[in-house]
Amino acid sequence: MNRPMPSALVEESIFVLRETKANFKNPAILWSGGKDSTAVLDLCREAFFNRVPFPVIHIDNGLDFPETYAFRDELVKKWDLKLLVAKSRVKNDPISGVDCCGANKTHALKTLVKKEHFDAIIVSIRSDEHGIRAKERVFSPRDRNWQWNYKNQPAEIWNHVVINNKADHYRAHPILHWREIDIWEYIVENDIPLNPLYFSKNNRRYRSLGCTRCTISIKSSARTIRDILKELGQSEISERSGREQDKEAEFVMERLRALGYM
């Protein structure tokens, strides 16, 4: 062999993306401007000959960081993305306790998906982010009420995709089995453009990116991806510890996801 075997993780993701395109009439992809969904856009370009064949949805509450909007608009141009913005309202959400994200973003997504008749949404969640996400299937149906029936998930065996026509839509999770560090390795290897907020400025950076209201930066001097990889090797704190709505107490994530959150 003249070249190393590509990573099995990458192969699996590309397979899932290609299956999504082949099995559904009208898929769309969620993009937050964060590292994971940006890596998935790049995986789409790998899978589909340098273009992203799906509309790209940004759920926007108007409160993202200026850097995020700038990065979004730049990449839309560079990669010729078909961007759709789902406008989310800022109002009290009793489940997460945060008024900017959680159920409000789900509502915005719902409105757009109904309008555009999307039958699959590609979502860049990973099982190591949260215990509830570790319970997901790669292809996961949502019913007419957008409920995730996690007590009775369909079997998923040997890459055979079975689509239940009674579902409202499916969530496709191409990087479900990746870890945080895998994403960074993929990003550095493939030189993927990234939101500058991930890198240290005044000795602080963001490890996980939400909006300005509910995301907290961490103390860090990591200015390059190499620095970040080194930092991850030593950290004893979880990736999303700076994200308000992830708190396990009150089972916030479970309740949000049951209603259609990502």
Binding site: M5, A22, Y150, A155, E236
Partner: protein, 386 residues
């Protein structure tokens, strides 16, 4: 490139301690961040429960209040030099479809047996299914040794019985270790409480037994090239190489066409290459006078066997009641005309069963398939002889 972990599924009867073992293991190996452990402890305290190690895996509220695993959870842990993905499967008999969803991806299995209860129905059922799915290496964990007061004699007896059952099922490599997961004993290092057992610690055996994880396809490189067309766009046939290799200039058949076609171009993902291997997602351009290729067409170097009536080994998850049953394999769905098991007219669920199937048209089956109705998987199968 991101590294792929070695996948291991954890099986066994409910309440024998699968989630507890994994919870303790990711804690001891520092594979879970400290704030997540603290948070789980806090949640338990708030709800007035005792913190259980299983809570690190059982994230649903339902799972914690019922003290049971509902669906598969995955965690990664570094044990020794290698990275592992540990798949926690539910032990209840109603949840076999979830267990299979986890086990079908695994290369190895751990079977947990509670020392005080011994081997139960679900222990054996899980072992049978995992073997059916292709797993041949298993680590038996005799858990809860505290409940047999660390009796080496009782352990020895259980070990012998378990190993003989697993050998009978067809497992090739079997190892056994005693431990107490909830007390964290004999997990990473040899424990003085187990001196009389003459058994190494869990991690020592684990590291030795679960060593290699060749990319599934690496084993397949020497077979003849085969790729099922997943999609077809702009004259490029897209798919994942199932086995073998393909080079520019090679000639292939398209599901047994009389004519051979030459490979003009190959892409690995989005990049042009000269050669592609098993497991890779590629694009192929052929010198084609054919009309469009379709999803499910098979590009191969050799002629393939078409099957219409065949014998298979199947595991049924549900009794096939719907009149509309299909085989699904290689992106094709073919209606089943007749299906009959060795237990006709009964269906015994969750156990590999000899089954005869007649289809309404012949198809190529290259290994495994699923049996489905309009909306879901109701069984899985493997061809007995190809």
């Amino acid at each position: 490139m991101p590294s792929s972990p070695i996948s291991i599924v954890v099986l066994g009867q409910k309440d024998h301690g699968k989630s507890t073992l994994l919870g303790r293991l990711i804690f001891e190996t520092k594979s879970i961040s400290q704030d997540k452990v603290k948070e789980s402890q806090l949640v338990a305290k708030k709800s007035g429960d005792n913190f259980e190690w299983a809570h690190l895996l059982d994230s649903f509220r339902y799972e914690r209040t019922k003290g049971m695993t509902l669906d598969v959870a995955r965690v990664t842990a570094k044990i020794g030099p290698r990275l592992y993905e540990l798949i926690d499967a539910p032990g209840h008999k109603e949840l076999i479809k979830n267990m299979i969803s986890g086990a079908s991806e695994a290369k190895y299995a751990i079977i947990v047996i509670a020392a005080d209860e011994g081997i139960k129905k679900q222990t054996v059922e899980h072992a049978r299914i995992a073997h059916f799915l292709g797993i041949d290496t298993v680590l038996v964990v005799v858990n809860k040794c505290d409940l047999i007061h660390y009796s080496a004699a009782k352990y020895k007896q259980l070990k012998e019985t378990a190993e003989s059952i697993l050998k009978n099922i067809g497992y090739l490599k079997i190892k056994t270790v005693p431990l107490s997961a909830s007390h964290g004993r004999n997990l990473l290092t040899r424990d003085s409480l187990f001196r009389k057992f003459k058994a190494p610690a869990f991690a020592q055996v684990f590291k030795k037994l679960f060593r290699t994880s060749p990319h599934k396809s690496e084993m397949q490189q020497f077979k003849d090239f085969l790729m099922v067309v997943q999609d077809y766009h702009d004259k490029i046939a897209i798919g994942q190489v199932k086995q073998g290799l393909i080079k520019i200039g090679d000639t292939v058949l398209i599901t047994n066409t009389p004519k051979r076609y030459r490979i003009k171009k190959i892409w690995l993902h989005n990049k042009p290459v000269n050669i592609a291997h098993g497991g890779e997602n590629i694009g192929l351009m052929l010198n084609l006078s054919l009309p469009k290729l379709k999803r499910g067409n098979i590009i191969a170097k050799k002629k393939l066997a078409l099957l219409r009536n065949f014998d298979a080994s199947c595991v049924f998850l549900e009794i096939p009641k719907s009149p509309h049953l299909f085989i699904q394999t290689n992106f094709q769905q073919v209606p089943i005309l007749r299906i009959r098991t060795a237990n006709h007219p009964l269906y015994i669920l969750n156990i590999p069963t000899d089954t005869t199937i007649a289809l309404n048209r012949p198809i190529v089956i290259t290994g495994n398939f699923i049996i489905r109705n309009e909306s879901e998987i109701i069984g899985i199968g493997k061809i007995n002889q190809v």
